[in-house]
């Protein structure tokens, strides 16, 4: 794993003294961290298995400082890794050994909440939930709600194109951001998107959202706010069979219903969660489905009735509808606490993020069951069932030699199966450093080359978050040598070594 942390271009040599002197010209002392003790908290993000110490951490307070930092790094050839709250799960904010971390933590102001226009202008270090809290007095909220929303920042959400449990109905970050202000590695400021629809030219907003800090550094974000539904209710259904639960999800969609949330947990996840949160889940069920309806009271009643009918027809054993806001939150509490609950029953866990067509769910889950035997590790599954986004939680013990390597191989196999089933290696966590090898499975040489050309159009020197998100062709060739995919050798045109 230490090797994974290495950048693809290792020949960088930075004179730290020069860098420090140049940064001190415009950064006050409290905005610059140096020395191992201060740098240690920044060595990883939410994916703690990958760590690296940066040369320095910059904590700018103004956009002018961001521009100066980027110009300085550009002129000295120093890699820059932008960072929000560091809650990311793919190592996207893992530092570069020869680079700096550019923390946007101090960009924490909500600049404007416009009730009439239903939008908020915020700095990138503002927490996701803080936006909804600021909009609440106006009956508005910001829709994307990643599980980490109490901590994760809007800048990080933009970098990862974050989703959440409500994105089936309300969309991802890319559907809810109107405009961003971005600084290039050369220190040039770009306004991308606008408060008016369909900004002129290429849709660069779509390109930058989810670009994992590879194309620019965001200094301001304008988000869309939507009216808070009058009511939300959730239906909880238990199934004796995972395939039946998967079919029930398809049946809900086929009935023309797009629920506000549609989540599934398997038996292992339920078993981990129930003692922890006491949500009242059926411990004997092979799968639990949570289906939320929101809207006017009339609308919710109508939809809940239809969902209940569909679930019955799909063979649900037990169907319960939340009768109060307290009960609704309790039904959700288990799902939302799934990660920490699993964390209680295992020393470490590794969260995967594959997306598959919903109809392949049963196939995927039985394959995961076989992998549990193969790798000798347990796995609990939580699933954004509505949009096919699976979060297997592989349980391991980092203190046991070889355990992490097995967990990593287990995860890689799940991701590669996701691609084989017609899905993607990442639904919402990003590629980062974690899934860099699996990019070679999802994409062939021409697309990866195109990604590198896109990167170069924004950052010719490759100094923004190097080694992340898009693998080098050499890495793919090496990975392809190890993993023959679908009986074909990937990248046959490349020399093997």
């Amino acid at each position: 794993m230490a090797n994974m942390a290495q950048n693809d271009n290792n020949d960088i040599c930075i004179d730290l003294a020069t860098l420090e002197r140049r940064l001190r010209l415009f950064l006050p002392p409290h905005c610059l961290l140096l020395g191992e003790e201060d740098l240690r908290p920044y060595e990883c993000d939410g994916l703690t298995a990958y760590r690296e110490l940066p040369l320095a951490v910059c904590l700018p307070e103004t956009e002018a400082q961001v521009i100066d930092i980027l110009r300085t790094c550009h002129s000295l050839g120093v890699p820059v890794v932008a960072r929000g709250a560091g809650t990311g799960l793919s190592g996207g904010a893992m530092p570069h050994a020869h680079g700096i971390v550019l923390s946007l933590a101090r960009f924490n102001k909500i600049l404007r909440v416009d009730r009439a226009a239903r939008l908020a202008v915020v700095q990138p270090g503002v927490r996701n939930l803080a936006v909804s809290e600021a909009a609440a007095p106006f009956g508005l909220y910001y829709a994307p709600d990643p599980s980490s929303q109490i901590a994760c920042t809007l800048g990080g959400n933009v970098a990862e194109n974050s989703g959440g449990v409500h994105c089936l109905k309300y969309g991802l970050t890319v559907h809810n951001v109107l405009r961003i202000r971005v600084v290039s590695i050369e220190g040039e400021v770009f306004e991308i998107g606008s408060e008016a629809p369909d900004a002129a030219g290429y849709d660069l907003l779509a390109l930058l959202i989810g670009s994992e800090g590879m194309l620019g550094v965001v200094t301001e974000v304008t988000v869309k706010l939507v009216p808070k539904p009058e009511l939300a209710q959730v239906v909880m259904a238990s199934f004796s069979d995972v395939a039946k639960a998967g079919d029930a999800v398809a049946a809900i969609i086929a009935a023309g219903i797009i629920p506000a949330g549609l989540e599934m947990m398997d038996k292992a996840a339920t078993a981990a969660v129930e003692p922890f949160v006491k949500a009242g889940y059926d411990m004997n069920a092979e799968a639990i489905l949570l289906c939320e309806s929101d809207g006017t009271p009339e609308e919710v009643a109508e939809e809940i009735a239809r969902v209940t009918e569909v679930l019955k027809a799909a063979g649900a054993n037990d169907i319960r509808v939340s009768q109060s806001e307290g009960e609704r939150l309790r039904f959700w509490a288990g799902r939302k606490a799934a990660f920490p609950a699993v964390g209680r029953i295992t020393p470490d866990y590794y969260c995967m993020d594959g997306t598959i067509p919903r109809k392949r769910l049963a196939e995927m889950l039985s394959a995961i069951a076989a992998m549990e035997t193969k790798y000798g590790l347990r796995c609990a599954n939580v699933f954004h069932a509505g949009d096919g986004n699976l979060h297997p939680l592989i349980m391991y013990d980092a203190s046991q030699p070889g355990n992490w390597e097995r967990a990593e191989a287990f995860g890689a196999e799940i991701l590669e199966l996701s691609v084989a089933l017609g899905g993607s290696i990442t639904g919402e966590h990003g590629v980062g450093i974690e899934k860099i090898n699996q990019m070679c499975v999802q994409y062939a040489t021409p697309e990866i080359e195109a990604f590198h050309r896109v990167k170069a159009a924004f950052d010719e020197t490759g100094l923004l978050n190097p080694g992340k998100a898009v693998p080098s062709l050499h890495r793919c060739a090496e990975y392809g040598r190890m993993h023959v995919h679908h009986g074909d050798v990937k990248f046959p045109e490349l020399e093997r070594f």
Binding site: A117, A196, L204, L207, G256, G295
Partner: protein, 357 residues
């Protein structure tokens, strides 16, 4: 004219053009020939590369080849009670490739989102004749840059769209249209006020003292909103909304038509010729004069935080003034670098988006 019946034909045509430094003008049904800048180069007609490749109603996606008429796609979706929620215009036989390339959305955009919000994946033939597959058929996919959404509205300048996958949605159970009498200022005020409330408004259209409002969703939600808003329900509203989507409504009858996208709360700018307001106030249509003050219209839109496109105008005027709002120099330079990343020789639809590339 070159005619492509298959992906291989498209690849061959682009490779030849690339080798011979010839420019290509990509064309589906030609229903949007009026839109954008210069029409230059030999026509590459891709309308024969057609057909639905995959449609999975419960997975909410459809994959089709570029030449597939929107009508064919929508007919297949209607059989399963689904739709293209961004309501793209068909004009005269529009194809799905042209729909994505132009990036034009219809009345439902204010509720459902734009073309780009529904693009899940594209198969693209770039300016060197190489086939590139971006995105896929699943709704959540953050592996690699989201190039497929960028293709929406790029007017064929980054590659020939050979195949596209779109997210589809169920048709609403109930729809009602209400009509209100009010002036433009009042319409903008009301639309923004309603926009901040949990009302199922799926389309809005103001023209000549009348505000039309479409409510879509669960029957109970539509009924409750109808009672709350107290407008006059109208009969046979489908014809009306179709005339807006297809721009056959008299409001769009002008030899020169400006399309102003502005923040929805923007008051009426000091520009004459307001013909219609859509999208909750964010889209304004103005009739202009061929020899009018085009700079003033552009400046008014920019001053309000929006942008103005010469939507329908004589080609010579669109080429001279630029069809779309000019880009800042640094942004224009970035556009050119991206263009080169996909079409290094600049052979695909040169000048269709901006004269500079």
């Amino acid at each position: 004219m070159l005619t492509a019946h298959s992906l291989d034909d498209i690849i061959a045509a682009v490779r030849n053009a690339h080798a011979g430094h010839a420019t290509l003008r990509i064309r589906g049904a030609g229903s949007k020939d009026f839109y954008g800048g210069l029409l230059a180069g030999e026509v590459l007609d891709v309308s024969a590369h057609r057909g639905i490749v995959a449609y999975e109603p419960t997975e909410l996606y459809i994959t089709a080849r570029c030449g597939t008429p929107l009508a064919e796609i929508e007919a297949a979706l209607a059989e399963k009670g689904q739709m293209l929620a961004f309501e793209p215009p068909h004009f005269s036989g529009a194809t799905v490739g042209g729909c994505v390339a132009a990036g034009l959305s219809g009345p439902r955009r204010q509720q459902a989102g734009a073309v780009r919000d529904f693009v899940l994946g594209v198969r693209l033939v770039d300016g060197t004749g190489q086939t590139l597959n971006f995105g896929g058929q699943v709704m959540k996919n953050v592996a690699g840059y989201d190039v497929s959404r960028v293709i929406a509205g790029s007017l064929g300048t980054l590659g020939v769209i050979a195949e596209v996958t779109l997210k589809v949605l169920p048709k609403p159970v109930a729809e009602t249209t209400l009509v209100f009498d009010c002036d433009a200022t009042e319409a903008i005020r009301r639309l923004n006020e309603w926009g901040g409330q949990p009302l199922p408004i799926s389309a809005s259209f103001w023209h000549d003292g009348q505000l039309w409002l479409r409510l879509s969703g669960a029957r109970a939600a539509v009924e409750a909103a109808t009672t709350k808003l107290r407008g006059n329900p109208t009969v046979n509203p489908e014809k009306h909304w179709n005339s807006i989507r297809e721009q056959t409504h008299p409001a769009f009858a002008a030899s020169l038509l400006w399309r102003l996208a502005v923040p929805s709360t923007t008051p009426c700018p000091e520009v004459d010729g307001l013909r219609a307001i859509e999208w909750g106030g964010a889209l304004r249509w103005y009739a202009g004069e061929v020899d009018g003050d085009h700079e003033a219209v552009r400046a008014a839109a920019t001053g309000l935080g929006g942008h103005a496109a010469l939507y329908r105008a004589p080609e010579s005027l669109r080429c001279r003034e630029g069809a779309f709002a000019p880009l800042q120099p640094a942004l224009l330079a970035l556009h050119r670098r991206l263009k080169i990343a996909f079409d290094p020789q600049g052979i695909l639809n040169p000048g269709r988006l901006y004269a500079e590339f």
